[in-house]
Amino acid sequence: MAFLTHFYAVLFYVAAFVLVSGLVVKVVRYARTPAPLKIPTTPAPTSRSGVALRMTREVVLFESLFRGNKWTWIFGWIFHFGLFLVTLRHLRYFIEPVWAPIALVQPFGIYGGIAMVIGLIGLWARRFLVDRVRYISSTSDHLMLALLVLIGASGLLMKFVFHTDVVAIKSFFLGLYALDPQPLPADPLLLLHLLLVALLMIVFPYSKLLHAPGLFFSPTRNQVDDPRERRHLAPWARELEQQAPAASSDPRG
């Protein structure tokens, strides 16, 4: 019992550290890497606010995917929206007192869990049924789906079949903040669920899950279409200009 609690406490400290530090390293590297040329996929917005709107449509509605493939869009959107609701619902385990909006979202979180699993199964089916998608799927793509389905399924089972002591879970996590872990219920389903979630957190910064931060750094989506109005110059390109004067024949030198 004590061992289990301590094992999971350490596991979640490690997982949280890997997730946060891994993501910070990646995001800082994305942000620091210059985009030397203007490459928005046009037609593109001509202002910053237009770009913000384009990004919002991509993040919330998966606009490009909608144009690209309706089946993938439907399943993908169901999965992500479900995941979003589930994440909101789970916040109640991590905050005290629980904010009113989080309390409100609780029943929807359950539908979210179901939707998430349905979406994942649809996406997974495509990996077998569509020959092009089968060709591009590697083992890790299947494992990622398996991981998420298992997380979702074990969660739903706890909700509907094998109930667990959610009050104890909450005090376990709140205890982690104070470096004082409280006993974790030893339900096998719960332990599996938490193990897989920790695994997900650990692989996040080293896998294709980087698509979530990646989207915000994609130059074809986040650049403003204004190259004639504004000169765009990366730091390394500026250095190039200083080495060899841009135009030797420029009267202004």
Partner: protein, 509 residues
């Protein structure tokens, strides 16, 4: 009908997504560049000894210089949305021509050398060593991408396979594996000034010939000046415009528009080429060097404005990159965007009612319009997003009575590449070019059947050359492809100047 050593696909009313056929195009690869074409661009002449280490180092360098590369190699979730979007996959069935399949050729090497997962669990995440076989695959399939960016339209993260292809070509060049067609041409630009290697005096002759032809035909002295200091406008146009059909008819049209506008203009023998193949090989240095010629010419000729002729990738470099590569342009007239597209120029005049057309001159044609990829998805015309679609169509409507668009799924930002862009317009890739043209020609054939379309107008030198070559493989006529400004040229009604020889002028026949 041209003779083919391969099976030319059957056209279908709508392009169907084929079943995956692995390695169907593995045999396709362009001629490798010889040492003499590598040196002027600053690349090693042949595969260097420690190529593997140097390639990985180069990849590391590019990952630090291009955010696109870094983000795109990490972000793909293998959702498959791009898999049926590439004309080369649709035409060849080879899964490595699916955009994500093409990216994965680089991604597997990236994962092996630059990610934890790939270092420790290569099998699991599909990571692979950079072997000679992988390099050969790179050479083959990164030269089966026309950098048309159709894939990036549909990808949920905007992953642009063109960025990956450009980086791959840059890496290959850096270890001595260049493509002959592109690199030889860039060398010609450095040495002679244009892709076709036409020296200054030949250009002067050609342009004089054009002035005579136009005078004979219209009785109006339309000028085609070159290297005229102090002209208002510098026209930069692809060198194909100087002599080849149907390109030259476009150039004739630009001259007539300038004439009607009453502005002075000039070509430049120093910058006698709009094309910039530096983009195709992903080399910022070479692209910049080629672009600098335009700045030099503008300064030497003391012009006030720069206008680009009909060329797709050249317009991308001009619109999107020229300010970066060769700006700032503060010595030009600030009232006009730098640079302008000839279509923007013509369209402005039409809007102001300063051009007169006799549309019936184009009544022998039923026109459709091919959106060139680089114009459609990598640039703009006019003030509002999407102007690159509306402005050329407005010009066609102003000059022709009969115009029909092709299927919506195949035009505007969803347009299909002609099959010859991105540095692939070479005879050693003819099978790829013919097969890659299928989706576009399916749509063209469809409007020919249903609407009686006879001609397709384009605003890109590569598209025009490519269609001229591949239309006959599909049983169509090579002259079904026309320049947009050829339509303008046909319909425009010119007023004679004082120096026009009245008695020589034939009545409009």
């Amino acid at each position: 009908m041209a003779k083919a050593t391969f099976d030319v696909p059957e056209l279908t009313p709508y392009t169907e997504v084929p079943a995956v056929t692995p390695e169907a195009m593995a045999h396709s690869a362009p001629f490798v560049s010889k040492a003499e074409f590598q040196a002027p661009l600053g690349f090693p002449g042949e595969l260097v000894e420690d190529w593997q280490t140097r390639a990985i180092d180069k990849m590391g360098e590019l990952l630090g210089k291009y955010r696109s590369l870094r983000v795109y190699l990490d972000s793909c979730v293998k959702c498959g949305a791009c898999t049926d979007k590439c004309h080369y996959f649709l035409g060849t069935q080879d899964p490595k021509n699916m955009p994500v399949g093409r990216q994965d050729l680089m991604r597997k090497v990236y994962r092996r050398y630059f990610t934890l997962g790939g270092r420790f669990f290569p099998k699991l995440v599909g990571a692979e060593d950079f072997t000679k076989e992988v390099l050969d695959d790179w050479y083959s399939y990164f030269h089966q991408c026309s950098q048309c960016r159709r894939c990036s339209v549909f990808c949920p993260y905007g992953i642009d396979t063109a960025e990956i292809s450009m980086a791959a070509r840059e890496i290959m060049d850096s270890i001595g594996v260049g493509q002959k067609y592109c690199n030889e041409i860039i060398g010609k630009v450095y040495k002679i000034g244009n892709n076709l290697g036409l020296p200054g005096p030949a250009l002067v002759d050609t342009l004089e010939g054009l002035e005579e032809d136009v005078f004979d035909e219209t009785g109006v002295k339309v000028r085609y000046p070159i290297d005229e200091e102090g002209a208002e406008i510098l026209l930069v146009t692809p060198s194909a415009d100087f002599f080849a059909e149907p390109h030259v008819d476009g150039l004739i049209g630009y001259g007539k528009v300038f004439h009607a506008a009453g502005v002075s203009w000039t070509l430049s023998s120093h910058a006698s080429e709009a094309a910039n193949f530096g983009m195709f090989i992903g080399s910022y240095d070479n692209m910049r060097r080629v672009a600098q010629r335009i700045r030099e010419a503008a300064i030497a000729l003391k012009v006030k404005r720069i206008v680009f002729g009909e060329c797709g990738h050249a317009w991308r470099v001009a619109y999107s990159f020229l300010n970066t590569l060769a700006g700032p342009w503060d010595f030009l007239d600030p009232r006009y965007p730098v640079p302008q597209h000839i279509c923007e120029f013509t369209h402005d005049l039409i809007e102001q009612g300063r051009l007169t057309f006799d549309k019936s001159e184009n009544d022998d044609k039923v026109i459709t319009f091919h959106d060139s990829c680089n114009v459609a998805r990598a640039s703009r015309m006019g003030e509002v997003p999407g102007g690159q679609f509306e402005i050329p169509r407005a010009i066609i409507r102003a000059t022709c009575n009969h115009f029909y668009d092709m299927d919506e799924d195949t035009i505007r930002d969803r347009t299909f590449c002609c099959g010859g862009g991105g540095g692939l317009l070479t005879d050693d890739l003819i099978e790829l070019r013919v097969k890659g043209a299928k989706p576009r020609l399916d749509a063209l054939n469809n409007v020919m059947q249903e609407k009686g379309v006879t001609h397709m107008a384009a605003i890109c030198a590569i598209c025009k050359s490519q269609f001229t070559k591949v239309l006959p493989y599909y049983g169509m006529e090579m002259d079904q492809i026309v320049s947009l400004h050829q339509l303008v040229s046909n319909a425009i009604v010119l007023e004679g100047g004082e120096d026009d020889d009245e008695e020589d002028a034939p009545a409009a026949a």
